[in-house]
Assembly symmetry: C2
Homo-oligomer: 402 residues x 2
């Protein structure tokens, strides 16, 4: 990695031009840095004449968080590009196409998706995405099934586990999702108006017991190759297309963590709608859409997952009567528990989400935050008894009674 | 690995002589090959004049089983020596000392333990080992705790998982322990007199459901670095000393698999005593000793494990009220389930144990086998409800009613 250096705009343009078969010879390339600058440089390289464009994403060897600079391995660029390539082989239409991965520069050259919007932004604006549940269900079913012991040769799976050992990025999740929100940690960042609710969480040992179990699963349960950070900010979307990006947190973990991430972020938006839609009837309707989407995500995921199991299982014992039903129930329970953790961390922890954080009025924001904390806690406390996705919807509905 | 070749006796002697500080200059070394010849060459190199001796263990690039030759990675020699060194750092008195690991020759030079006997042989002869439970409890507690997320930095643990990915040897366990005994597989090998009992197992879907769950845990639950093959043939013993050898199956798996292996092999001997002790009073007494040992193994293990947890936990959330008790109960349940699997595979599967296999009278052997199958099935069927080690003892007692 000794020749690594962070690219500037000119170097990014030269790099893009050197890739054969993308831009015409006479392209007039311009570069725009569109990354958030915390972890990666993201150059959008475009040629207005031909209308062609590309993304160059380069990992920085540090992370800028809370004003400090943390060293962070650029090996995550390898993880990300290898995960993208693997996901692409399983569901090519749902991830950006990767042209090149350059291990020296920790650089991935990939398809430009600027015709899509970040789903979180779309949901905040009140847009509905009728194909999203089907698309993400397909993504989850295929990426999780075919990287697990159910759908992948079990010796090859072990080599995949080895390939995707990802200590530094897992550490971020272990601390920021499963530890800091449950104690008075320096990294925490919450609205002072919800101080009482937060302190109750810090002293709720029943809740923390369930979180400890979920954290243990995250640490030890090498079930499938996860995206690892599957929130609505990692999803580019239009009414017709869904693209899952940024799998730098990829590692072998519990499937429910990815499924739960999708559910949690739909429910965070559901809580945030306290502010975004003023008209009550319209707000109720959009929240119904979000809950229907939660249900549809699980429905599409589980139907497709079971279809793949039927078709392509590599495990003789997985056809034993009762095992499939038991497995799916445990997935639902995990998804519910992890969804709860992912909601709470966005309200108390270091990294908030715009659905709630960008609500200007602190009192309305506090109301949205109380809804999210209430739903999150109930999901965590009840997850080990869950037997139907409807229970998540019921919890979400009760969560509005704040 | 291109310079690898299997050593002959003369080369083994030359190699031993080249190691500084072991044998005197004028040593008259002789070599005896004492391996079973299936997987490894094991040279016992000794100098009668000084009384000094050494073991050279070299992995062969194939396995001889059922008359066939299977290619098998010599990387298992690296796994074995690295596991030995790690275990040695945690409980030096309980594993052989490693002098050298030679990666080119897949060769480990280690302490000679010929003053010990293989525990399986000792138990068949009716010997009691009063310190065994304490020793193996210590071994299990230290090796499992300090390689788990409870006792090892959680990022370093991930690198250990990566280091000990062991697909080929895990495959042997996955097939021979968790799959073949439950179907009419070619590798199976059982006494024709128990054909009915075996067929009942092949058609017992409730049993197979539980086995599928245990198999899933073996495949996915990267809880701690296991020995991976901790039967009484992997234990050298005297009345004062216990040495655990042969960790070539080491990998990150569920702790209960190692604990269960010890319990299973004590109970296989318990079943085999049908033949070995003719006098009924003496047989009852020895079986009581074996059951007491099962109880003491769990007692010593759990006490020491909890003491290490108290002293050296690296996980803040592991001190949440209720978590420790819940964790220990799950360990017991896993140990019980895996013990059951390990008993059944020794009766039906490819690799029998001498405790039972070497009983000459096929009818007495069948009785011992029925006892083992009955105990094994009950352990598997009841494991998820277990809350006390006493339940294993009760199952073992009821198992004699064949």
């Amino acid at each position: 990695m000794s020749d690594y250096h962070a690219l500037n705009a000119k170097e990014a343009i030269d790099y893009a031009r050197s890739i054969e078969g993308i831009f015409p010879e006479d392209a007039e390339l311009s570069s725009r840095e569109i990354g958030d600058g915390n972890l990666n440089l993201v150059f959008h390289i475009s040629d207005p004449k031909s209308g062609k464009s590309l993304i160059l994403k380069q990992a920085l060897p540090y992370a800028k968080v809370v004003g400090e600079t943390w060293p962070l391995t650029i090996d995550r660029a390898r993880i990300e590009s290898e995960a993208l390539l693997l996901q692409s082989s399983l569901c090519p239409e749902l991830v950006p196409h990767v042209y090149i991965y350059d291990s020296v520069l920790a650089l991935t050259v990939m398809e430009d998706l600027s015709d899509h919007v970040i789903m979180r932004k779309g949901l905040i604006e009140g847009n509905e995405y009728p194909l999203f549940a089907e698309h993400i269900g397909h993504f989850l079913a295929h990426t999780l099934f075919y990287t697990s012991d159910l759908g992948l040769n079990q010796q090859q799976k072990k080599l995949r586990v080895q390939q995707f050992i990802n200590p530094e990025l897992c550490k971020i999740s272990e601390d920021l999702i499963f530890d800091h929100p449950y104690t008075n940690a320096e990294t925490n960042n919450f609205n002072p108006l919800i101080g009482n609710e937060v302190k109750q969480i810090w002293h709720n040992s029943k809740l923390q017991f369930e979180v400890a179990l979920l954290r243990e699963g995250f640490l030890t349960h090498a079930q499938a190759l996860l995206h690892g950070d599957l929130h609505t900010g990692s999803i580019f979307i239009t009414s017709r297309s869904t693209k899952v990006i940024d799998p730098e947190f990829a590692f072998y973990g519990p499937m429910g963590f990815d499924i739960g991430a999708v559910i949690a972020n739909l429910l965070l938006n559901y809580a945030g709608q306290e502010a975004w839609i003023a008209d009550e009837t319209a707000r109720i309707k959009f929240r119904e859409y979000l809950l229907q989407t939660v249900q549809d995500v699980w429905q599409h995921f589980s139907e497709q997952f079971l279809a793949l199991w039927q078709k392509d299982s590599v495990d003789r014992l997985s056809s034993v009567p009762g095992y499939r039903e038991n497995y799916m129930q445990r997935l639902l329970q995990d998804a519910m528990g992890y969804a709860g953790c992912k909601m709470i961390r966005r309200i108390i922890g270091l990294a908030p989400v715009a659905d709630i954080q960008s609500i200007n009025d602190p009192n309305i924001r506090a109301k949205a935050e109380r809804i999210a904390l209430s739903i999150g806690q109930a999901l965590i406390l009840q997850h080990r008894q869950a037997s139907s996705i409807d229970e998540i919807l019921e919890i979400a509905k009760r969560g509005l009674e704040q």
